[in-house]
């Protein structure tokens, strides 16, 4: 925040309306939006939010900002998406707000505060946001109360929706027990972390009223005999990972997005953290919004739509993962072929089929492509904080293709989980977007 403020001052234009009272007009709302959303990402990194949990948090936090700003715009570029969800549109009144943008960000942070374990860390960010709003004259001091109370009203509603989506019931369900059957998933080294969110399919999706149609095609059955599809895919992983080019290694690392890689040295263990796959696509959304210089309302619109798509895509993918309960390449290779083999990336702690990154990257890319258009060149800087260079893409779809195949380079997925995952994500993305074009 502090780092960016300096830049913001330069792009802030102060206008006066006909009544002479100051109304801020910020030229770079997408950048501000992305910065504020990144505060939420930072808390997720601290809390080690798992990939599906992270997507849920992105969905609800963005939703709050969208609900505040929704009423301040005559029309959006594309139709409203809320009618196609199970949510009832609330039409929160923001007409009495001098800066609905201010309230929207505030509501986003409020939801983040409530929905994340270490959400209290956002309190400081909310105070900074207040100071920013006053300093940049987005609103007057006496208007603070009404903005904040509106933000709270919206945030409360979002939280009440979130509290009924099945998340709080997860801890009441019997925990998944991995079996030692051939071909089934079992926790992986080095930390043997327990299966992440095995009952995620019980969480309510926004768009996908029925999950079954989005199930992936059958995976190749576990079969180690030469010539079987499974065996060929297994051999492919060994082949590919033993001959990785520098570029392929870079690709694998660029899309790693492992929120918690455990680095063990004797008694000492450190968790090395990264943003989740959802966080990466939120980053891309922000970059595109900034490049297009979207209005605040459009920025909130596309972030929310991508956030909700991510959430639905994770639910669909996680359903497949625990229904198929497929073994990870690392486990089967260590057990059957080479006990010293190790993937480039640390194997994530959940079953293999389908590849989550493939599903959610494709679904997000479909939404972004439909919104921003194909052949949208962009420079992806999302991973800079995690020690990885920026990377250029010609289109969202290209980025999603790369994210998908990166899992093969990383040695953590079979090809069918990637390819079927891409199809699964495509189906989800197209289904959601089709609503808007009806």
């Amino acid at each position: 925040m502090i780092k960016r403020t300096g830049i913001l001052v330069g792009v802030l234009l102060i206008c006066f309306n006909t009544f002479g009272s100051p109304v801020s007009k910020v030229s770079s709302w997408p950048e501000i939006y992305a910065d504020e959303l990144f505060h939420i990402t930072e808390v997720m990194v601290t809390d080690v939010a798992s990939p599906p949990v992270a997507a849920r948090i992105y969905a609800y936090t963005n939703l709050a900002s969208f609900l505040v700003i929704e009423g301040s715009t005559e029309s959006f570029r594309y139709p409203e998406f809320l009618p196609f969800t199970y949510l009832e549109d609330q039409n929160f009144d923001n007409s009495n707000l001098s800066s609905p943008e201010f309230a929207a960000i505030y509501a986003m942070l409020l939801v983040g505060e409530k929905i994340m374990p270490s959400g209290y860390l956002l309190k400081e960010k909310m105070q900074e946001w207040e100071s920013f709003g006053l300093k940049e004259k987005l609103l007057k001091k006496k208007e603070l109360d009404i903005h904040i109370s509106t933000a709270k009203k919206v945030a409360d509603w979002v939280i009440s929706v979130a509290s009924k989506d099945g998340y709080l019931q997860l801890s009441t369900l019997t925990r998944y027990s991995p079996t030692k059957e051939k071909g089934r998933w079992y926790p992986t080294p080095p930390a043997y972390i327990a299966a992440i969110e095995p009952e995620w399919k019980t969480i309510k999706p926004f768009f996908l009223q029925d999950l079954d149609p989005f199930d992936p095609e059958e995976m190749a059955p576990f079969n180690l005999s030469q010539g079987s599809s499974f065996r060929s895919q297994l051999d492919e992983i060994i082949e590919v990972t033993s001959n990785l080019t520098e570029e392929e290694q870079l690709i694998a690392n660029f899309w790693d997005c492992n929120p918690f890689m455990v680095d063990v040295t004797g008694h000492m263990a450190i968790g090395i953290k990264k943003i989740s796959p959802g966080g990466h696509w939120m980053g891309i959304t922000g970059i595109a919004a900034e490049m297009e210089d979207l209005s605040f309302a459009e920025t909130a619109y596309i972030h929310t739509l991508v956030g909700m798509t991510l959430h639905d895509a994770f639910i669909s993918c996680w359903k497949a993962k625990y229904e198929t309960d497929r073994i990870r390449p690392e486990t089967v290779i260590n057990e059957e072929l080479d006990r010293t083999w190790r993937p480039l990336l640390q194997t994530p702690p959940f079953p293999e089929y389908t590849s989550g990154h493939s599903v959610i990257s494709r679904a997000s890319a479909i939404i972004l492509t439909n919104y921003f258009g194909d052949n949208f060149d962009f420079l992806d800087t999302s991973e800079i904080y995690f020690g990885l260079p920026e990377r250029e893409f010609q289109s969202f779809l290209q980025a999603s293709e790369e994210a998908a195949i990166s899992r093969l380079y990383g040695g953590i997925h079979f090809r069918d989980a990637i390819e079927e995952g891409v199809k699964q994500g495509e189906k989800i993305g197209e289904y959601i977007w089709a609503n808007l074009e009806k």
């Binding site: 930072e42 601290t46 801890s171 968790g271 090395i272 006990r339 010293t340």
Partner: protein
């Protein structure tokens, strides 16, 4: 965080000062008020040694994993002037030797002795007379990241003028391994000393490399055995079957004759994942690792160790150290999520059952050990290095010193989970991350060593403060020795970055005997001998083996404390070659030198006749349950699914041969078998159903047709849901020998705990009292126990109102029928988890709770079994009550009750059971932070890190109102008891200590030795607990003899002949009590018969 612990310690100091003042003022004898040990100022003794660590870019924990392990100390008389001299190793600086001038004055002889050693990472030290000239030489071990030359160990040959020359190379002992410690012993009994070299790896072995690493001998990390061939030492490791893989992070080595066959065995303790090795000498130049055969579970991150007979029964016991802290805060900072899959995988891959705490393996003879460290109260001593058993107060029982401390709070969970943020934050701030900075910024918490006084009853009392050993610091190697020749053992402890701790033993008034052994051989100090002294009914044994504890050695003499004993009747020396020499009527309070005589006898093999021998067992196995109940209710303590098999007996077809019912569990149907002429035959008149889990089986003639009918109570947890048909109890009516399921039996549904046939309404028909245990998935909700009245034709109906509290009596698991008030009518006692034995008195129309009339203390506990019998021969019925026992982290007494709070605190539809238990003097929630957060989402934002949870109490978790609304169950004792029927009620006396070492789930009262006094067999153990609690498996089916007066004596397995490993769930006696069947969880029925 770092400030908290020292402040606790400081408060303790203040407290002990206050205690001192109070005792002084109350005029107590001066002798009692001066602590046993006095800490001496090393500088005043002219001991300037200090093991200083310099932490920099080149030398740090990231480059060398064992950077903070500390150094060692060896004590011995180097100049044969009758005074013990001290040698210290220093990790990074020169080693130092101090000549004892007497009267607590020392002289630094390092320079003159020429013994400072090379500038390499120095570890352990041992004094040994390697050339048999009667002068102690010194072997120093090296490790570190340097080259091969820098690591070659040194052997300093005593030149008899306090100078030494390194001749390691000449002897073939300049080994360049990464050594921890050398131990000298005569493993092949050829008369000279051989050497075991304990080594460790200096590279991190990641999990994935385990299997590969295990198969390969590592040249520098693997341990080595050197055989002494006329003064040349030859590496015979491979031929001797010594493991040498890189996974062995050896931190402790001790030698003793563990199995009493006259040959020295070896214990090697390994840090990290590699199990310890218990090498049993095969008498042919080889060893065999019998760890998994002798021990049922072991320390995980094993460190130092000692072997000594702690209970004076003539068998040596084994103690290994680990790193579990004593206080709640440090425990909570340490415990992460319980990972059952990882645990199972490690066990499957041969890493055995390992738990992070000190283990005391009590020798039960014949290679059986009962791990009782927690009951002994010596299991939690934090990050511990040296363990030394010695008789500190000369009272005849061996006390225990444990040194501990680690320079960085390495295992702090917040470090794992949140310090990773450091990299991220540095990246956001566009600054370079510096991992060394991360490590050196870790907190450092000095902790106090421990000293424990033996109570002589398998338990110890922490005397750290009383005996003045409580200065916080980071201690490593240690040795005991009589430095001032006043007949008691003083202590020398090597510390990190501080001067050594030197403690003068100020004991007064107790007798002692010090024995020096001498033989004219290549082993003049007779290392490897064992001395046994006897006086009255007492005996003590000591092994002469100087290397013990950690990286250190003690003088080659034996020190016996004698208390007020004035006379030793016999001394028996077993020399290293196995020959035995006996002396009698020996004077005390002296240093007795015993020279090996030419007339020795050889050991006689004793063969002991046991009471029982194994007999042909019926072919029935209760089957594998396969459920992990913690996946369903993560906050339970043990798994309630594991109750099978139950047993019951009756003659079903009237042919004079008994049938035995073997209860099933879900997936494995029950069976009935007939015992006919000593053979087991399947009984055709019954077919079990694999859907049920049998919790109780009772035979009775319910319809008066003269045939025995069968009631089976359905229990278990498994995946039974509340409306599950699998929870319905069953009645089988005997139709000409065929048991047919009654279709109109009441279909109440809960997990049944127990049941008894009792004529409740005195109409002459057996009614049923059914004890309800739990509602699967709703633990610890109290279900409604039932009375089912019998109309005389076997029709049972639920009758409300006949039980107290509407039937909500508790989580009932056990019962007996007893005429408690001697009115001629059967009463019932029920017991279970979080309840007291409850006396339900038969009033003729109902059962009334009159517990208060019969018990004068709160006996709420975690009861698992009841059994009645006349144990004091007075004609009335007494009973035994089996509880959870004392061998766990839990404590419970009337002042420190266990409390189980439960409610749906977060209102998400699931019961949240939160156990509160005492750790030291305060009560805390039992769950680890991960466990709590997994159960309750709301706690995730309440305790965002481990530090905030580490001091949390129940009031920090919940509001006063929430706690008041919650169901609260309490337990005031975990001990198992004998309850004697007296006119004033039932008098409760705890059963002997060995029976407190495991949960008792089955008690069979029979007269085992046919002396007319009732004995019993107690079976139990609990192997299905949380990983953190670990397996409790000290019982083997313990035969306990009664003297007919209410006193009991527990036999060792090698006396009783019963050696069952595993969880005994049921026991029955057949053939006039001469044949006993044991129902063992997850395994086949075991059968034992009494020897004629």
């Amino acid at each position: 965080m770092p400030a908290l612990n020292p402040s606790i310690r400081i408060n303790k100091w203040i407290y002990s000062i206050l205690a001192f003042l109070i005792s002084f003022e109350s005029g107590m004898a001066q002798e009692n008020s001066s602590p046993l040990f006095k800490e001496l100022n090393p500088r005043k003794l002219k001991i300037g040694f200090k093991n200083n660590l310099r932490e920099d870019e080149q030398n740090n924990i990231l480059r060398y994993e064992y950077f903070y392990n500390g150094a060692g100390v060896a004590i011995g008389d180097l100049d044969n002037d009758g005074l013990n001299d001290i040698f210290f190793t220093s990790n990074m600086s020169s080693n130092e030797v101090y000549k004892n001038l007497g009267e607590w004055r020392f002289e630094d002889m390092t320079k003159k002795a020429g013994i400072a050693g090379k500038k390499s990472w120095t570890t352990g030290v041992a004094m040994v007379d390697i050339n048999a000239d009667g002068w102690l030489d010194i072997y120093v071990s090296y490790s570190g990241k340097g080259d091969v030359e820098s690591r070659r160990n040194e052997l300093w040959i005593n030149q008899k003028d306090f100078t030494f020359l390194d001749e390691a190379k000449e002897y073939g002992l300049d080994d360049p391994s990464n050594s921890t410690q050398a131990l000298f012993f005569d493993y092949d009994r050829d008369g000279d000393l051989d050497m075991y070299l304990l080594n460790h790896h200096i590279e991190v072995i990641t999990e994935i490399e385990f299997d590969q690493a295990r198969g390969v001998r590592h040249p520098y990390a693997g341990d080595k055995l050197y055989r002494n061939d006329n003064g040349k030492f030859i590496d015979v490791s491979e031929a001797a079957r010594i493991k040498g893989n890189a996974l062995g992070f050896g931190l402790g080595v001790v030698s003793s004759d563990v199995n009493d066959d006259g040959w020295p065995d070896l214990l090697v303790t390994n840090d990290y994942i590699e199990p310890d090795y218990l090498y049993i000498n095969q008498k042919d130049g080889t060893f065999e690792d019998k760890t998994t055969e002798y021990f049922q579970h072991i320390s995980h991150f094993s460190m130092g160790a000692d072997i000594s007979d702690i209970n004076n029964d003539g068998l040596v016991d084994i103690y290994t150290l680990d790193m579990l802290p004593e206080d709640n805060e440090r425990q909570k900072l340490l415990y992460g999520p319980e990972n059952y899959e990882q645990y199972a995988l490690m066990v499957e891959r041969g890493f055995y059952h390992q738990n992070m705490r000190n283990m005391l393996q009590l020798n039960q003879g014949d290679g059986l050990f009962s791990e009782i460290g927690q009951m002994a109260k010596i299991s939690n001593t934090d990050w511990s290095w040296s363990a030394l058993f010695f008789d500190a107060n000369n009272d005849g029982n061996k006390d225990l010193l444990v040194t501990n401390g680690y320079y960085r709070d390495y295992t702090n969970r917040d470090f794992l989970k949140y310090k990773g943020d450091y990299y991220f934050k540095q990246a956001v701030a566009n600054e370079k991350a510096d991992t060394l900075h991360l490590v050196t910024s870790m907190t450092s918490t000095p902790v106090s060593n421990y000293i424990f006084e033996s109570n002589g009853d398998l338990t110890f009392t922490d005397r750290t403060e009383d005996w003045n050993i409580d200065k916080p610091g980071f201690s490593s190697g240690a040795a005991y020795a009589d430095l001032d020749n006043d007949g008691d053992l003083d202590l020398v402890i090597n510390n990190l970055n501080e001067p050594p701790g030197i403690y003068e033993n100020q004991s007064k008034g107790s007798n002692y005997l010090t024995i020096k052994l001498k033989e004219d051989s290549q082993n003049p100090f007779a290392v490897g001998s064992r001395a046994k002294i006897t006086y009255g009914k007492n005996q003590q044994i000591l092994d002469l083996q100087p290397v013990r504890g950690f990286q250190s050695s003690v003088p080659p003499v034996l020190h016996f404390g004698l208390g007020d004993e004035e006379k030793i009747e016999t001394i028996e020396i077993t020399w290293p070659d196995g020959s035995i020499q006996k002396l009698s009527d020996v004077g005390i309070n002296q240093i007795l030198e015993i020279e090996k005589s030419t007339s020795t006898s050889s050991a006689l093999a004793e063969s002991q006749k046991t009471i029982f021998t194994a007999a042909e067992a019926p072919n029935y196995s209760s089957g594998v349950v396969g459920f992990n109940d913690f996946k369903r209710q993560p906050l339970m303590i043990s798994m309630p699914s594991y109750i099978a098999p139950v047993m019951a007996k009756a003659d079903l077809d009237g042919d004079g041969n008994l049938e035995v019912y073997f209860g099933g569990t879900k997936g494995t149907p029950a069976e009935i078998k007939t015992l006919k002429d000593g053979k087991w035959i399947d009984y055709s008149g019954f077919k079990g159903d694999s859907y049920y889990t049998d919790a109780v089986a009772r035979f009775a003639d319910v319809n008066g047709d003269g045939m025995m009918d069968l009631f089976v109570g359905s229990g278990g947890f498994h995946d039974y849901i509340s409306s599950d048909e699998g929870l319905v109890d069953r009645l089988y009516i005997n139709q000409n020998g065929n048991l047919e399921l009654s279709t109109d039996f009441p279909d109440y549904k809960f997990s049944t705990g127990t049941a008894e046939f009792v004529d409740v309404n005195r109409d002459g028909n057996p009614d049923l009292v059914v004890g309800a245990r739990m509602l699967p998935g709703r633990y610890p909700e109290i279900p409604t126990s039932q009375i089912l009245l019998n109309d005389g034709s076997g029709n049972f109906s639920v009758s409300d109102g006949l039980l107290p509290s509407g039937g909500k009596i508790g989580m009932v698991s056990s019962s007996i029928v007893i005429d408690a008030n001697s009115d001629g009518f059967d009463d019932v006692i029920l017991a279970g988890e979080f309840m007291a034995p409850t006396f339900l008195i038969n009033t003729g129309s109902a059962l009334e709770d009159q517990t208060e009339k019969y018990l004068d203390q709160d006996l709420s506990g975690w009861w698992g079994s009841l059994a009645k019998g006349d144990f004091d021969g007075d004609g009335d019925e007494d009973f035994l009550a089996g509880n959870f026992g004392l061998n766990s982290q839990f404590v419970a007494n009337e002042a420190k009750r266990l409390k189980l709070y439960s409610a749906d605190f977060d209102q998400n539809g699931s019961i949240d059971p939160i156990l509160e238990c005492y750790v030291e003097d305060e009560a805390y929630p039992f769950p680890s932070r991960d466990e709590l957060l997994d159960q309750m989402v709301s706690m995730r934002s309440k305790f965002t890190d481990y530090a905030s949870y580490s001091t949390a109490k129940m009031e920090d978790l919940f509001s006063q109102e929430e706690l008041e609304k919650a169901q609260v169950l309490t337990a005031a004792t975990l001990e198992s008891y004998y309850l004697e029927n007296t006119p004033e009620g039932f008098k409760a006396t705890p059963l002997p200590k060995l029976l407190q070492a495991f949960p008792i789930y089955s008690i069979l009262p029979i007269d085992v030795n046919r002396d007319g006094n009732l004995d019993f067999i107690a079976g139990g153990n609990q192997n299905f607990t949380r990983i953190r609690i670990g397996m409790i498996d000290a019982g083997f089916g313990m035969v306990t003899l009664g003297d007919g007066k209410g006193n009991f004596n527990v036999l060792k397995p090698n006396e009783s002949g019963i050696t069952i490993k595993g969880d005994i769930k049921s026991t029955i006696a057949l053939e006039n009590d001469s044949l006993v069947l044991f129902g063992v969880s997850q395994g086949p029925i075991e059968s034992y018969k009494i020897n004629d």
